[in-house]
């Protein structure tokens, strides 16, 4: 409760975090719900990246061990960052909708796309190098 003054409309609002709900007006609830689903889409992206990393970790693929571990590590690192982006994007979007500011962009999406493309390229190259 940072602003507990007399006529503050946010005084009775217990929602967390205050950095999001402490200012601005209630947006249309449909927009807040859409923002939640966008958050969840990022979370499921994280899960897909993690599943790929764990699969590379567990399977014994016909490729150099070091390459396999490197790709698994790359996927897990991008998964970690995607989870943090999910939260950051949710909070910034919700705040922007409350204050009427333009919605924030998510340049991290390009990082995910590049990393997945790099992993795919790596897998294709190792497969090509093995075939006669």
């Amino acid at each position: 409760m940072t602003e507990a003054s007399g006529s503050d409309p946010h005084r009775d609002d217990r929602r967390w975090p205050r950095s999001v709900y402490g200012e601005g007006d209630e947006p249309d609830p449909r927009f807040s719900l859409a923002n939640e689903r966008t958050f969840l889409a990022w979370i499921r992206t994280t899960l897909a990246l993690l599943a790929g990393a764990a699969a590379l970790d567990a399977l014994d693929l016909p490729m150099p061990d070091s390459a396999q571990r490197l790709i698994a590590l790359l996927l897990a690192l991008v998964a970690l960052m995607a989870a943090l982006q999910a939260w950051r994007g949710w909070a910034r979007t919700e705040r922007a909708m409350r204050t009427g500011a333009p919605l924030p962009s998510a340049p991290f999406a390009a990082v995910v796309a590049l990393a997945v493309a790099a992993v795919a390229l790596g897998l294709v190259l190792t497969a090509l190098l093995r075939s006669p």
């Binding site: 807040s32 499921r44 899960l47 993690l50 970690l80 989870a83």
Partner: protein, 116 residues
């Protein structure tokens, strides 16, 4: 009115009553499948990591599994609360829980990829 005193239900009188339509249903189902996916993924990553990382992978995995199940059950509660026309409060608590759980699972997998 037994609604909570705060939150999205305090619509100003000059606005029409809120009708999110099927957006609440869509969102609750999205939470449900994400919660189930978190549970399964945490178990999978934990099972893979425990061979290389050892018992250190167990606690974060169990925490993440608990978070996933919590989210799944919370979404089911949310759906029944909407049927009783008493929407629950949406805020950043559940997103923060989910983010924390996935950070844990990611760290387990990162360590596993390094030490295996």
């Amino acid at each position: 009115m037994t609604r909570p005193p705060s939150g999205p239900d305090r619509s100003p009188p000059d606005r029409p009553p809120r009708d999110p339509g099927l957006a609440t249903e869509r969102t609750a189902l999205s939470w449900l499948r994400t919660g189930l996916a978190i549970t399964v993924a945490a178990l999978f990553v934990g099972r893979v990591a425990v061979t290389g990382v050892g018992l250190g992978a167990v606690l974060p995995t169990l925490l993440a599994v608990g978070a996933g199940l919590w989210v799944a059950f919370a979404s089911l509660r949310e759906r029944s609360s909407h049927r009783r026309d008493r929407p629950t409060l949406h805020d950043g608590a559940l997103p923060a829980l989910v983010t924390g759980a996935l950070v844990l699972v990611s760290l387990v997998e990162i360590v596993s990829a390094i030490v295996t």
